[in-house]
Amino acid sequence: MMKSLRVTALATALMAATSLSAMAEMVYHRGNSADPETLDQHKTSTVYEAHILRDLYEGLVAYSADGQIIPGTATEWTVSDDGKVYTFKLRPEAKWSNGDPVVAGDFVYSLKRIMNPETGAKYASVLYPILNAEAVNKGEKPGDELGVKAIDDHTLEITLGAPTPFFVDLLAHQTGLPVHPASVDKFGSDFVKPENMVTNGAYTLAEFVPNDHIKAVKNANYYDAADVKIDSVYYYPTEDRGAALRRFQAGELDTNNDAPTEQVEFMKTELGDQFRVAPYLGTYYYAVNMKDENLAKREVRQALSMTIDREFLADEIWGSTMVAGYSLVPPGIGNYGEPAYADYKDMSMIDREEKAIELMKQAGFGPDKPLKLTINYNTSENHKNTAVALADMWKPLGVEIELINTDTKTHYAMLRDKGDFDLARAGWIGDYSDPQNFLFLVESDNVGFNYANYANPDYDKIMDEAAGTVDLEKRAEILKSAEKIFMDDLPFIPMMYYGSMNLVSDKVSGFEDNLLNVHPTRWISIAE
């Protein structure tokens, strides 16, 4: 009894202390699903790293609160008529957190650094449209041949290898964020330490305690500092989504960028508008191993896809946090229009099932001659539930499913090595809003992502044609014909479009739902 009293007293004292300090400054407690591997923007590849880096640094362009591309360090840019030369005007007032001016040379330095093979950048390929970038990154050409040039301190010229209509979108990716050349030269890989880091974004790094928190404080030298409301932001790696929900409920987190799907019903009733689901630029699919002689038959793949009750998966298994998906490219993407949906999208389940049974019969399978398949998935409650539901849906086709789950590394190592699987779960979140970023997955020379071993010369030809087309409308049409081929061949079976889930407290404003799920802290404020 005594003990609990003391504890309560202490807790009250502590709360009083925190609320006192909160009055003095605005603190934002932000749940962020995992710790970054590194705060070196050139070595990162994940979404949760991007959330932090976008607060610390600002590239040529930035994101608005609703996820649109807006001017960042560059105030304006022009594109040459052939679509290959971009000229950026940098704002003269932009400064690093130590007071140095941000100049065009910093961007040249940064782009050369990420393409330098010795940096070991994981995601340099995002910026491959830049002239000679790929060759430099592969060590085939010297760094000086990279198509970037500082005309003067405030003018930057980037030359592309081929016209790329979504190039400016690419620059908003975390790989396009600049580093401070002087500190990189001085500290080497230690430039990311809080005591060394110099940033040009709205915030600057104060602390990084792995598995505990990252603290960033307002950068007084930021050109727009007057409009930045939050004084310090804490990012917590909330690996356990259930625990994150409880911390949110207890008011310890203001937002969290994920939520436990198991408890969707509960969150909808208890949290109301604080539980946010928004469309997201991603597709949940199963890769089909085309090397398997049974799965090489198109009828089988079509039949499998046709019998999936995608609405049930999205609404019941995923609690409406996903949307039934009938195409590889999610709807709402830029430079595209309506995706090429499967033709059975609007057919009734009964007709689909009947047709699928017919197709299976053509391929030589039926209840008397069952097709035995395995589903590989990486360990997760929802992947498991999805696989169980699919096994049930495919029963009428005479398909017998065995489920195999492994940890994430084993799963992706198996996919990369084109291991021995029949159907394997996978997903893709777009890096930028363009259909090419989805359709390139199954190009025959895409060794890394083409888990299905799909090789269709027609498809590759169309994709090449699209890459050389500048006219956006014409390009969209060409890409759509590629997707049409994809949906007929089905090397991947798309099932759902991802939704983004966020827990956002009522006190938080400026946290706007958007397709890219980007939420820079500079736009956010918290009411007392």
Binding site: F266, T379, I404
Partner: protein, 377 residues
């Protein structure tokens, strides 16, 4: 230190023609808590074995219309779900509903459509988990209207259903089979290795003891997860493998405890006496050392079974052993813990089964300990 009364007891007991085990059995039978626990354990075991056979639901049957429904003594669909459920099916079949009535278990509705009604729409009812025996009767002349009748299909989910709409009761029973088997077999493996190893090490002492304990230290500090992942890669998924993996890890504690006990026991006068009489090392181990360590061993065993059952859930999580649609209590409970807010029945029922089993094991262990104690007579 030790006086005559306790030392030669085992041999005296033999001389009387009443073995240690006879006495132990009598004492165990007299222990009411232990007997009640034994009864509970047997009951749970029986339910796990027979339950899935008697249950109306196969353990892997997916009821798409009953995803995560709460545990209930009354049947599904509940009264207020029948009409909306019926209308939902008709909406999927794209026909208009004119009238709806319900007589006992039967529902009938007049349906119409602007076009001819496809007789196949009854299949929507066959697919639904709510209705059976759908029939279209009283067709109008132009086939655009008809009367649809169907029977309500009442089912019970006493423990509710999981996130795939599978019956939790049947799954809890079937999980019991897996958990109990693993708990029992792995524990037997661990105890056997542990006792023999520990007693040998402690009794022989000296350099042999040091070497044997170093081996335990080394095994103890090995990265278990990698050990397990490796097993999966090399041997594939295999139920037997799980016993080996768990047993191979868990005997280490046992060996330590038995060794500690042995160090003490071997200084006892009766052991020294036996040594002086020229009884072989193996004989002393069998007759004196191991029986005298049984008390702590039994206590520890009752602690080991829960540990093994919980460890198994961790292994299943990694992908070794129990794969869907098979399941175990550990797996069900970890799923339940994630659904704690919102679907508590997914946690509570497997937890009750697991906890009762472990409780029973504990009390049986205490009873056994008391009964086997050679000094307690």
């Amino acid at each position: 230190m030790t006086t005559l009364s306790s030392a030669p007891v085992p041999d005296k007991a033999l001389a009387r023609g009443r073995s240690l085990w006879d006495d132990a059995r009598d004492r165990l039978l007299a222990n009411r808590a232990a007997m009640a626990s034994l009864f509970v354990l047997v009951a749970i075991t029986l339910v796990s074995i027979i339950g899935p056979m008697l249950s109306p639901h196969p353990f892997d049957k997916v009821y798409r219309d009953y995803v995560k429904v709460p545990a209930s003594l009354s049947a599904y669909p509940a009264e207020d779900q029948i009409q909306p459920g019926f209308e939902a099916v008709l909406k999927r079949a794209r026909v208009t509903i004119e009238s709806f009535e319900r007589v006992g278990d039967e529902v009938r509705a007049r349906v119409s459509s602007r076009r001819e009604i496809d007789p196949r729409i009854t299949r929507y009812f066959e697919r639904s988990d709510l209705f059976v025996d759908p029939q279209l009767v009283d067709w109008s002349a132009d086939k655009t209207a008809a009367t649809l009748t169907a029977n309500v299909n009442f089912v019970h989910f006493y423990f509710g259903t999981d996130s795939n709409g599978r019956d939790m009761m049947t799954r809890t029973f079937i999980a019991g089979r897996v958990s109990l088997t693993i708990g029992l077999l792995a524990t037997v493996v661990a105890i056997t290795i542990g006792v023999i190893y520990g007693a040998t090490s402690g009794y022989l002492g000296g350099r042999v003891d040091q070497v044997m304990m170093r081996v335990v230290d080394i095994l103890y500090s090995l990265p278990f997860i990698f050990f397990v992942i490796m097993l999966v890669v090399f041997f594939g998924r295999n139920f037997v493998l799980m016993f080996i993996a768990v047993g191979a890890v868990e005997w280490l504690d046992m060996a330590r405890i038995v060794r500690g006990q042995t160090l003490t026991i071997k200084r006892q006068e009766y052991v020294q006496a036996a040594e002086a009489m020229g009884v072989s090392d193996g004989g002393i181990l069998r007759r004196h050392i191991i029986p005298n360590t049984l008390g702590p061993v039994v206590v520890y065993m009752t602690l080991l079974v829960p540990k093994v059952i919980l460890l198994e859930s961790f292994l299943s999580f990694l992908g070794l052993g129990v794969q869907e649609p098979m399941t175990s209590w550990g797996v069900l409970i970890s799923e339940g813990a994630r659904n704690m807010q919102g679907a508590f029945w997914m946690l509570i029922f497997p937890a009750i089964f697991l906890t009762s089993t472990l409780f029973a094991l504990n009390f049986i262990g205490d009873g056994l300990r008391d009964a086997l104690d050679p000094k307690d007579r």
